[in-house]
């Protein structure tokens, strides 16, 4: 209905992109993530699944890198390079899905608590504070221990333990938006809760949520790998489960660095990319940090 609003928002987005572009680290991170996502989507077309199955893998056990296996083999003769490339799929999927869950819950709790105030806010913030101080990894691991182990329970366990920071951030932002006169005007003109939240609060809160989201993805990928290392994951191949198997199969004492390095470096690169993008976006979008960097 209101074209000028969208014009203004498009202009603002273009402005953000122009500022974001000047941050080389963030730009590199964004490019790396984009390439990896693209690769993960087409991976089933490029990778021969037989090489991923224990029974059909052709190599010897824990072979060092050679012309045939560029990054050596794992304990059951599978190519480590193939496993690392394939592992990107689960690690990224879990990272994105857990983040989506966490951000949706966090935004909902934050907006509702700030908008309605009163006892609703008190109760929600009490719960948020509780989850904020709980050691998230321990809670997630306990959840995994009592639930059937699958990729979906991993996503759920990470999602339900990582939303409180988002909730806090969104609440603070919503409070500061709602204290502005135009919200009062909107309410005076008869704007209901849905109207105020949907038309005014969310559009101004979401950019910051988006910056926060990229940071949460990195955290979720680390959380996935840590849970997998503790044995709390589904049967799928992920970077974390590779490291768990490397540890369990004695690759460390055997000095099999080629089994340990690739998945770990992959995690570091991806998480670092997300962190750089998140920090880059934050500097652009958060007025408090302007000019600080």
């Amino acid at each position: 209905m209101s074209a000028p609003v969208w014009q203004r928002r498009r202009a603002a987005a273009a402005d953000v992109w122009r500022q974001f572009r000047t941050n080389r680290g963030a730009l590199f991170g964004a490019a790396f993530i984009a390439l990896l996502v693209l690769f993960s989507l087409i991976a089933p077309l490029l990778i021969d699944r037989d090489g991923l199955e224990v029974v059909t893998a052709a190599g010897g056990s824990l072979e060092p890198p050679s012309g045939e296996y560029w990054l050596g083999t794992d304990e059951s003769g599978r190519s480590v390079m193939l496993l690392t490339l394939w592992g990107a799929r689960v690690s990224l999927l879990v990272g994105f899905a857990a983040t989506l869950l966490s951000v949706v819950v966090g935004t909902l709790v934050g907006v509702v608590s700030a908008h309605f105030g009163g006892w609703i806010s008190a109760v929600l913030m009490r719960i948020t504070d509780f989850f904020l101080v709980l050691p998230a990894l321990v809670l997630a691991a306990v959840l995994m221990a009592v639930l059937p182990k699958s990729m979906w329970t991993v996503i759920m366990a990470i999602g339900v333990t990582s939303w409180p920071t988002t909730a806090r951030l969104v609440r603070a932002q919503t409070l500061s938006v709602e204290s502005r006169p135009y919200i009062e005007r909107s309410k005076a003109l008869g704007g209901g809760h849905t109207h105020v939240i949907g038309k005014h609060v969310l559009p101004s809160v979401l950019p910051l949520v988006f910056a926060n989201t990229t940071l949460v993805v990195g955290g979720s990928i680390i959380a996935e790998s840590t849970l997998a290392f503790l044995g709390m994951s589904g049967p799928e191949i992920s970077w974390g489960s590779m490291l768990d198997r490397a540890n369990q199969s004695g690759a460390v004492t055997a000095g099999a660095w080629w089994y340990l390095l690739p998945p770990g470096i992959a995690i570091v690169l991806v998480v670092l990319s997300f962190t750089l993008v998140g920090r880059g976006l934050e500097t652009v979008l958060n007025p408090r940090l302007k000019g600080e960097r």
Binding site: V138, S162, R168, I222, L243, A246, N247, V252, T253
Partner: protein
């Protein structure tokens, strides 16, 4: 797990606004912590009742058991009684320090936890002290010459370490030092005689786990120290100090750093949750016989009573530490009290 280095201090704007008295502040914080503790106890109970299937099946998986034995076991563990009564028994037990009996070892969970506390405290304590010292020193240097080579490389290294799974770092250190340091345990199989040789033996075993934990946690101290010093550096009193002719070094040591230290002090307590997560994986990698390794073993079992006990203890201590941080912040920073 997902808290980024900078947003731990994100307090609500409306939390500071009203000038509540100290008594109300303390009562509020203590009350909040007590509610959280009750939540933890309740969560500890109900989480472990979510398990699909019969816990007795899990317990007796590897042993053939006749129905009579099963009935006896069920009665002894109180599993034949209504859930609310089990909950009352459980809270009653907790209050008396009774955490139940391990499925795997048939030992009281309380005893198993008690003997694991000291190794963890040794590891966490040493790593924290070293991390604070290292983090403060690097943070001050980075902020004072902001944007310089030192600042950029150090912030870069800290971010890289931040992006690393802790256990992977531990495994890397193990593989890089191949046999120079012991890879498991806290003492040699055949410990030497005498106090000093024994202490050295433990210190030798402590090196790698402590280094891993240190590298994981120092970054936060550094980044917080850096940003809080940067905030102070624009302050008028520093210009005054410079104007009266103090040397750069003295301005930093006597004026800027003491004020910037405050947020870092409370961070020691706030970071405890992160340290707890760190100990689980680091102790698992190095088989350091502490609470983290106990958590790891009970997860792998799964030995649910042990896991339940460890969960309540770890979560409870994080809550207590956060309460201490809140209280301490008010004591050490007069500005918070006055506002």
């Amino acid at each position: 797990m997902t808290t980024s280095p900078t947003d731990q201090h994100a307090t609500d704007p409306d939390e500071r606004r009203d000038g509540t008295s100290t008594v109300r502040y303390v009562a509020g914080k203590v009350g909040g912590a007590l509610v959280s503790l009750v939540f933890v106890v309740a969560l500890g109970f109900f989480l472990f009742r979510m398990i699909p299937g019969d816990p007795l099946v899990t317990m007796t998986r590897e042993r053939p058991t006749d129905p009579e034995q099963l009935a006896h076991l069920r009665e002894r563990l109180g599993l034949d009684r209504p859930v609310w009564q089990q909950f009352l028994d459980y809270t009653n037990g907790l209050l008396q320090g009774d955490f139940g009996t391990s499925y795997m070892y048939r030992r009281p969970v309380g005893d198993m936890i008690a003997e694991r506390v000291w190794p963890t405290l040794l590891l966490v304590g040493t790593a924290t002290v070293l991390a604070v010292l290292l983090g403060l020193w690097l943070g001050v240097r980075a902020a004072w010459r902001r944007g310089g080579t030192f600042d950029r490389t150090q912030t870069g290294i800290a971010l890289a370490l931040w992006s690393m799974p802790q256990f992977w770092l531990g495994l890397l250190l193990l593989i890089a030092t191949q046999g120079v340091f012991p890879s498991r345990g806290m003492t040699s199989v055949d410990p030497p005689d005498g106090f000093v040789p024994q202490a050295l033996d433990v210190a030798w075993h402590l090196t790698l786990p402590c280094l891993t934990l240190l590298l994981v946690i120092y970054a936060q101290y550094m980044l917080v120290m850096r940003s809080s010093l940067l905030e102070e550096m624009g302050a008028d009193y520093l210009r005054t100090a410079r104007a009266k002719g103090l040397r750069d070094d003295l301005v930093r040591r006597r004026h800027a750093v003491p004020n910037a230290l405050l947020p870092t002090m409370t961070l020691i307590f706030l970071q405890f949750g992160m340290v707890v997560s760190g100990t689980v994986t680091v102790e698992a990698v190095f088989s350091w016989p502490g609470l983290g390794l106990l958590t790891y073993e009970s997860l792998r079992g799964p030995d649910l009573p042990v896991l339940q006990g460890v969960f309540v203890i770890l979560a409870g201590s994080v809550i207590v530490m956060n309460l201490l941080a809140d209280l301490l912040y008010r004591v050490v920073d007069p500005r918070v009290r006055a506002s």
